[in-house]
Amino acid sequence: MTPVLAQIAQIFLVVALAPLITGWVRLVKARLNGRIGASPFQPYRDVFRLLQKEAVVAHSASWIFRAAPYVTFAAVWLAACIIPTFTTNMVLAPAADLIALVALLGVARFWTALAGMDVGTSFGGLGASREMMIASLAEPAMLMVSFSLSLITGTTSPAQIVAFVLSGGVGVEVSLGLALAALIMVAIAENGRIPIDNPATHLELTMVHEAMVLEYSGRHLALMEGAGMVRLTLFMALIGGIFAPWGMAQPEAGALGLAIGLGAFLAKCFLLATALGIFETVIAKMRVFRYADFLGGALLLGLLATIFLYVSEAV
């Protein structure tokens, strides 16, 4: 398969798969709560329903409110396209790096927060301020993870990091473990999962992400929800790809290699989604002011990962 074809496949794969993963997490949680739960394909129906509905926009909304869903979805989608999922052999792979990834996610967040404040409701503002507080803590942690990864592998390109790890260039590194822990914590915060945010809540006063998109409806809401689903898939691909890249197709792989790559990617996603569902069931949401402790911990882990690299080199 040529890099162009692989890239196109990836572009559609991440969007097509994202609702299923979200639906799977919900199903796992429902089963653990003793409920039958909706089918894992329910999010597809929800998005389809929303797309057919009329988009109601508040009188006080400006063009920012209308543009934000498109910008947000596009930024998250693009970010998801540059993460290697089933193959590293993609046309955009050389252009991609982890710093760009952080920036793209930052753009999406910035626009969502702007849209939350744009309508002028107090919940939108509340959500935006909380989201920015989380971002100010999560982004440095994410960058720290990127630095330690690039120090280990000598590159910030996800595809090359994967190739390096696959080639056996790294053994069991303490730094890698610390970076993984930090990345998981960041992923929980970025995706608004318990204990940072509750994606299933109806309580206006405790919402973060939901509060910002409270005013959206119809296709706008579909895009905002879709962006959330793709973001979750993105982080699963990132964690699964960098820390457990086994099975991923290399440039020289044939059709069989690609099939194995795809299978491995799906397996990793569902494994992580199941783990997420279990984790969310056994833990309660934390107090808003504890976010700093949680994400500060992620930042410190990232920092430690970097420091350990130098220490181990010096020894």
């Binding site: 709560n33 509340l126 909380r130 509750n198 299933a200 309580l203 206006e204 006063l205 405790t206 808003v288």
Partner: protein, 506 residues
């Protein structure tokens, strides 16, 4: 010393009203009423409720020291009376409501904003002898101001995102910290006092059962006891035991669901699932034993609507055995989840002295050191024959309110076991005589003390009645408890109070 006068001694200066049972009612003139207001400021008496009639104001009082209960009534043909609000802040909302309903003006009360009346009723002062025409437009409501740099308002409700009752909350915040919370209620006003005027006993009982649907047994029981007191009617012993059984079933069902709902608000949904299953077991048992899941209209004046069969009692015993085991497992889960304890401990502390000043009961009072329970004081059948202890905690936080609920469920399970083994045989319903009289009853609902007062006319109809919900004295404490907490913790605090909107909106 002035504070040591007992309630009955103090009120005996007034004119006793004939035929008020089981506790006396005294009519006070203006001098005696003023003296009462002064006495309230220094005494330990608590106000049970305050309500009106077109030209009279009533206040039910309890002397906590001696346990005496009495009603003080003050005729006010000029439609004003001296406010009790300064001495007892919990009464302020009751006085504002009485002004909205009967047009009786509380003199000396600074806060004269309407409470129940939002200017959307077909007439204003609907229960006064001469109601006023409807307001031209809905009234604007001036929320108390909070000024300072960086303060902002968050209006929440009356329509909420979840399926809950309507009420408006106005937050003044500085960032995440709540500087002031003010409630505006009255959205579910149903005109209960009006509906309880000139009604047959059966109709009135159905209305009383629906004042606050989740405490329907407690309201039915309070209404039935008040009517029976007014008529001097003796209920067969078995009826008392059946009523207590239903009341405890209701208490368990509500408490377990509250526990689950509080945890769910901390995004710990598994607890809600466990508790939902437990509640459902109780509701199905209610349905099988008494023919209604929530036991609505099962307690009637004169006794109960249904008897409990031998097989039913056996089935219930069997159910409770499994229930206790599941409940204790759920308690362990609550106790062993540190992320949950981190949310509930130290959150939304209701100050003990405020709880005493407002006379708040139920789990709100007991979690802050006020251990009052109507089942003990004044006490009523069959609780005087049962072994019952009242859990009291001092912390006053969300966790304490949950712990009170956990303990009360255990107590109720024990009570049901005792009731099932000791229940006397015999009739479960007695006919009601047609007499005139007045009656008062206080009953412990799962939320706290429910009071019902009735006046019967000669033909045995309800001439007037008033129902008082414990939430009247708990809502204001929620405003106080959230101060200094963060906005995101409000749902947790609110759920742990679980005040009734319907009961307090009348």
């Amino acid at each position: 010393m002035m504070g040591n006068v007992s309630l009955l001694d103090f009120l005996s200066s007034g004119h006793p009203v004939e035929g008020h049972r089981p506790w006396p009612r005294f009519r006070l003139d203006i001098r005696a009423w003023r003296a009462l207001v002064g006495q309230l400021a220094t005494s330990e008496w608590s106000v049970i409720s305050l309500w009106g009639e077109p030209e009279e104001i009533h206040v039910a009082l309890r002397d906590d020291e001696s346990g005496q209960i009495a009603i003080a009534s003050h005729p006010c043909p000029e439609r004003w009376y001296v406010s009790l609000g300064r001495a007892r802040p919990g009464v302020i909302r009751l006085e504002r409501a009485a002004f909205d309903l009967w047009g009786l003006a509380p003199m000396g009360l600074e806060d004269r904003r309407p409470w129940l009346d939002h200017g959307r009723w077909p007439s204003r002062k609907p229960l006064a002898s001469q109601p006023q025409p409807a307001a031209e437009r809905p009234l604007t409501y001036d929320f108390l101001a909070a000024e300072g740099e960086g303060l902002h308002q968050i209006p929440v409700g009356p329509v909420h995102a979840g399926v809950i009752e309507p009420g408006h909350f106005r937050f003044h915040c500085q960032g995440e910290a709540v500087v002031r919370l003010e409630q505006r209620l009255g959205y579910v006003h149903k005109g209960i006092d009006g509906l309880l005027t000139e009604r047959s006993v059966e109709d009135a009982a159905r209305v009383a059962a629906r004042v606050s649907g989740d405490a329907t047994v407690a309201y039915s029981l309070a209404f039935a006891r008040a009517v029976e007191a007014a008529l001097g009617c003796e209920v067969p012993p078995r009826a008392h035991w059946l009523r207590a059984l239903m009341a405890e079933m209701e208490r368990i069902a509500n408490h377990v669901f509250d526990i689950g709902a509080v945890c769910n608000d901390a995004a710990f949904a598994i607890m809600l699932s466990h508790m939902g299953v437990l509640r459902e077991k109780i509701l199905r048992a209610n349905d099988a034993l008494f023919g209604h899941r929530l036991l609505m209209d099962r307690v009637v004046p004169g006794g109960c609507a249904r008897d409990l069969s031998e097989e039913g009692a056996e089935a219930l015993k069997h159910l409770l055995h499994g229930f206790t085991k599941d409940f204790e497992r759920a308690f362990k889960l609550y106790d062993n989840t540190p992320s949950l304890s981190d949310r509930t401990q130290g959150t939304g502390i209701a100050n003990g002295s405020l709880v005493h000043r407002f006379g708040a009961g139920g789990f709100v009072g007991r979690a802050s050191g006020r251990g009052h329970d109507s089942r003990k004081a004044p006490g009523y059948q069959p609780y005087d024959m049962l072994d019952l202890s009242i859990p009291v905690y001092a912390e006053g936080d969300v966790n304490a309110r949950l712990m009170v609920r956990f303990d009360e469920v255990r107590e109720s399970l024990g009570l049901i076991t005792q009731i099932l083994s000791d229940m006397p045989q015999g009739a479960f319903r007695a006919p009601l005589p047609s007499l005139a009289g007045e009656g008062l009853a206080v009953v412990e609902s799962f939320r706290g003390e429910v009071m019902v007062w009735v006046r019967m006319d000669e033909s045995g109809r309800v001439a007037r009645a008033h129902a008082h919900d414990p939430s009247w004295f708990q809502w204001p404490l929620l405003e106080a408890a959230i101060e200094g907490n963060i906005v995101a913790d409000f749902p947790l605090c609110n759920k742990s109070f679980n005040c009734s909107y319907s009961g307090a909106d009348l």
